[in-house]
């Protein structure tokens, strides 16, 4: 049995303010991105206007470089918890966008705020979805050379699919918007070098025992079964490596070139191994899967992720992808675009398809497609009914997130000032000593519990309007639909 592991997901979202009334083609947006993000936060309680905010559910909501809204899930010990936390982030941002749009309308501004879960804008800028896996320090320091081969070929399963328009106007369907943007296997610089694995050492935990492996080349997934596959399969590979297994014989000659090929061509892309062999990306994933199947995993939900991987690889080999058509993100999206081409009696060169593609990623219930696709049975979900709504306010019960979430909730409900990071909490009004939380597996801390009790029972309350927690619970809409 492999050791327990913390898993989390950070997602940068695209943001755009669109005209609500018909305008001549090419009219500039009614708000800049910077103005749009100000509006996105304007509708939140005072406590939430801070651009770096830890949430009662254990997650973190902030504004990243380039005015992106970014949401990081709490520390999780099971894949279903990460999926619920990630979908909770979608729900929180959806609610913020809806309230911002209402507030704009009330001020007579004909603009609508859209938040998009994708990885590329019209100008070719890339923004990321970073996976975090707690590993042993030596695992990250001496990464198995075959791990990059696994990551480079993984988008055939986990890619979000992307329409590409070449400079000559040619349209192509590809498997990953993110893959062509990745320039290195390893680097400490996520912005300029955009690596597959970020080597920046920020463990957010006791660095003598834990390292945080950041996988940064993946697509953001709208289809949450693909999110589950992506995280669960990668955990299984890390479990293998930390249990004495190896992928070194699968190392590629040029993993970045292979990633680009898989992004373009998917399962059938041929990759060159360092030892001179050539194989399809699908066969390389098959070789990885055979090594991780049948093992015991401490992280919940890995067996289900491997089950989907098995069905997906079998379907891709047979050429009949129907058995997994609702579970793999790129297949779901392709079905939407192909369906629309037929429905509208148009061709793949129709420039409106780029707008359909953005609708696939739009968090809005009204202007996005995910809720509709789930309701229509065209997009599967790995989230248990009710789990997403619960995860908006409730942290995972079995990690440090439970300690931090209880503190954040108490502070917000009573209006106290505090300082919070992944690895500490500190009450500032009245001042109390900082309480460090170096163990991400510790779901209880006596000192924090005592402080939370003091905040709730002994300190004067300064409630200012609706609390952050009340705001999160308020108006989240029909989260239950489609799980």
């Amino acid at each position: 049995m492999a050791a327990p592991r913390i898993v989390g997901l950070e997602t940068e979202y695209g943001l755009v303010a669109a005209h609500t009334e018909s305008v001549p083609p090419g009219t500039p947006n009614p708000l800049t991105t910077a103005e749009a993000i100000a509006e996105l936060y304007r509708g939140t309680p005072q406590a939430y206007r801070s651009r770096n905010r830890f949430l009662p559910n254990g997650g973190r909501l902030y504004v990243d470089l380039g005015s992106h809204p970014e949401y990081a899930t709490a520390e999780c010990r099971s894949i279903p918890d990460v999926v619920a936390q990630d979908r909770a982030g979608e729900a929180i941002l959806r609610g913020m966008a809806e309230r911002a749009t209402i507030a704009l309308a009330e001020r007579g501004v004909p603009a609508r705020i859209h938040v998009l879960k994708n990885n590329r804008d019209a100008a070719g800028h890339s923004f990321g979805c970073h996976e975090n896996y707690l590993v042993r320090p030596e695992t990250a320091a001496e990464l198995d050379p075959g791990f990059a081969a696994f990551l480079a070929t993984r988008p055939l399963l986990t890619g979000g699919g992307a329409l590409v328009t070449d400079p000559d106007g040619t349209r192509r369907w590809t498997f990953s918007a993110r893959a062509p943007m990745i320039l290195r296997v390893l680097s400490p610089d996520p912005t300029r070098e955009r690596p597959m694995v970020l080597t920046r050492a920020e463990p957010h935990a006791d660095a003598s025992r834990h390292a945080r492996l950041q996988v940064t080349h993946g697509d953001s997934n709208v289809t949450d079964t693909t999110t589950a596959l992506k995280l669960g399969l990668t955990v299984a590979v890390l479990d293998l490596l930390e249990d004495g297994g190896s992928l070194a014989d699968l190392a590629l000659g040029d993993a970045v070139a292979a990633l680009h090929a898989v992004g373009r061509e998917g399962a059938g892309a041929v990759v060159d191994l360092a030892d001179g062999r050539r194989m399809t990306a699908r066969d390389l994933q098959e070789a990885v899967l055979e090594r991780v199947e049948g093992r015991e995993h401490a992280v919940g939900g890995v067996a289900e992720a491997l089950g989907l991987t098995r069905r997906a690889l079998d379907a891709l080999r047979s050429g009949d992808t129907a058995p997994v058509a609702t579970e793999l993100d790129h297949l779901v999206k392709h079905a939407v675009l192909a369906g629309y081409v037929t429905h509208a009696g148009t061709s793949w060169d129709d420039p409106r398809l780029a707008r359909v593609e953005l609708a696939f990623h739009d968090l809005s219930a009204r202007h996005g497609l995910a809720d509709r696709l789930r309701a229509a049975g065209a997009m599967a979900s790995a989230a248990e009914p009710g789990a997403v709504a619960a995860a908006v306010t409730v942290p995972p019960s079995d990690t440090r997130a439970a300690v931090r979430g209880a503190f954040v909730a108490a502070v917000e409900e009573t209006g106290q000032q505090a300082s919070v990071s992944w690895a500490h909490v500190r009450l500032d009004s009245p001042p109390r000593p900082q309480l460090d939380l170096p163990d991400p597996f510790a779901a209880h801390d006596d000192a924090v519990a005592a402080l939370v009790e003091e905040i709730r029972t002994s300190l004067p309350h300064h409630p200012g309007g609706r609390s952050g927690l009340g705001w999160l619970r308020h108006g989240l809409g029909d989260l239950e639909r489609g799980g």
């Binding site: 940068e12 018909s22 058509a325 079905a335």
Partner: protein, 60 residues
């Protein structure tokens, strides 16, 4: 067929796609048709302006 149309635009030398276009389950076909019809409404206003206007400042 949609896949044929993609194939037409694939640059010479690239391999044939491995995946055929997936079809939604027949039982849900009616609902899927409704999703496609809903897309018409989404596309009704400023479709191309929306695409051109979706420009970020870069991330990560």
């Amino acid at each position: 067929m949609a896949q044929d149309q993609i194939r037409e635009h694939r640059p010479a030398g690239e391999p044939e796609p491995v995946e055929p276009p997936p079809a939604p389950a027949a039982a849900a076909a009616h609902d899927f048709s409704q999703v496609l019809a809903d897309i018409d409404d989404i596309l009704e206003t400023n479709a191309l302006t929306f695409v051109q206007g979706f420009v970020q400042e870069g991330g990560e």
